[in-house]
């Protein structure tokens, strides 16, 4: 239930500008329940779907936290909670936040 507005500081174009440290990415579908990720891009060919996800604030730079991965994927993004099926969750590319970043720095919450 957090990670809302703070995550927005990292807004957009992350990972697309060259020279930045490349990070391993994975589909949102690969995150475990409770894990956090930051959206890198949405790999969908369907413009209406892209627009819908955009309207629900699922866009590059947004931080997500997975609440549920069965029977559908439910994740929090900002103050919104979104449910998508596996096919869509496979198309949302994220970089893991929880394991890679927060633990070594020992930052709380």
């Amino acid at each position: 239930m957090n990670g809302g507005s703070g995550a927005r500081i990292f807004r957009a174009r992350r990972g697309t500008i060259s020279g930045e440290r490349p990070r391993p990415t994975c589909p949102l579908a690969a995150l475990r329940v409770g894990e956090r990720g930051r959206v890198v891009r949405v790999k969908s060919a369907s413009t209406p779907l892209l627009q819908k996800l955009l309207a629900m604030a699922v866009l590059p730079g947004s931080e997500v936290r997975v609440d549920l991965n069965f029977p559908a994927f439910v994740f929090e993004v900002g103050n919104t909670r979104v449910a998508v099926d596996r096919a869509i969750a496979e198309q949302i590319e994220v970089e893991r936040v929880t394991c890679v970043e927060e633990r070594p720095r020992g930052v709380k919450g």
């Binding site: 239930m1 957090n2 809302g4 507005s5 927005r8 807004r11 957009a12 369907s46 413009t47 779907l49 892209l50 627009q51 819908k52 996800l53 955009l54 629900m56 604030a57 866009l59 590059p60 609440d67 549920l68 069965f70 029977p71 559908a72 439910v74 103050n79 919104t80 909670r81 979104v82 449910a83 998508v84 099926d85 096919a87 869509i88």
Partner: protein, 447 residues
Amino acid sequence: MLLSGARDVHALVRRTEGRECYERIRRTVERAASRYDMPLSYLIGLERQERADLIVRRVTTTGLRRVSRAARALDFLTLFPPAAIPLLLLVLYFGLYRFVGVFGAGTVVDFLERRLFGKVVNPVVNAFVTRHIDSVALRELVAGEYGVITLGLRYSVAIVLPIVGTFFLMFSVLEDTGYLPRLALMADRAFKLIGLSGRAVIPITLGFGCGTMATMVTRTLETRRERTIATVLLALAVPCSAQLGVILGMLATRPRALLLWAGVVGAAFLAAGRASSRFLPGERPVFYMEVPPLRVPVVSNVLAKTFTRMKWYFVEVMPLFMGASLVIWIGRMTGLFQLVLKGLEVPVKLIGLPPEAAFAFLFGFFRRDYGAAGLYDLARAGKLTASQLVVASVALTLFVPCVAQFAMMWKERGWRAALAITGVALAVAFASGYVLNLILTGTGALP
């Protein structure tokens, strides 16, 4: 807006700037688009979002949001499958079965149909026309057994209205609490098996109330393909409450027959879903929904939502039921019904039923419960064996939808789809009846 690809803006520019100038603009847009690997409209949307966020950050502060224990508990109950699925079943049991089925379709229908129409409206109308109208044909049009008032109005107000009304009341409550998206996401996996997304849980469950209304509600589905699949399933294998009531009543004393009926209809439902999702062209269904936090429903919201949907019923569905009475009248007056009855006797005998059952099938087209009630009478008169009863119930359930639902399919999906679906339903109904009859008489499974 030109860059975003807004169609009406493109049309406007073409009209006002002339074809040549528009072509130049279009080429410029295409050149710009070719430089990105994402659609321009999406990139513009991203940029807009980014700017909006900047402004929001500048003018607002955000505190830590506390999540109450109750909210967490509710989330757990409605999202964690081992808790959410039993809850879903409870909601369906109390909301759908107890409230819509027992209260709406039982208590309220009983009052309106038996008391209001049976004791007051129909006798008054019948007495009035007998006294004031000489022509028998005209009398039969408004009154009598199949009149526009005594049947059409009675059916739509006393039988269907309470069911649709209680359904929408319950539905609006669920919607206002924010539970519906959670219900849809729980159902999504199962519905994907039949080519639908979780959203279809609404029209399909409504179909057990009134198939005509449900066919109209398929509008809310995302793609044309999903709308078509849902329409097929509603027409073929979802018995409406009117029919369900009589069939359950008829088979209640024979648990094995009831189980067999439910099994065959359920299998037909799955098979029809699988088949249409396999053969209908178009993209596979996708499911996405915002999941709002749960809230206590607000009475005024619930009432406003219920009334809006009831307006659909009064404006778009009720006239169809009145029209059905008119069709029955024409059919009886012109002798067309006798002809159709003779025609129907052939497949009816083929599936091992007495020719009298043809009457039940014909009237099943006008009121699905009339069809089932016709069987009920035959069964009570001892003219049907247990296996014949099952065969007849299965065939009648799968048989073409009622005339109002047919008209709604025509309106929503077009005449080709309506005729095709009806044809398929007819073929599937008699084919299943035929095979079931062969198996039952061959094995002697039911005496």
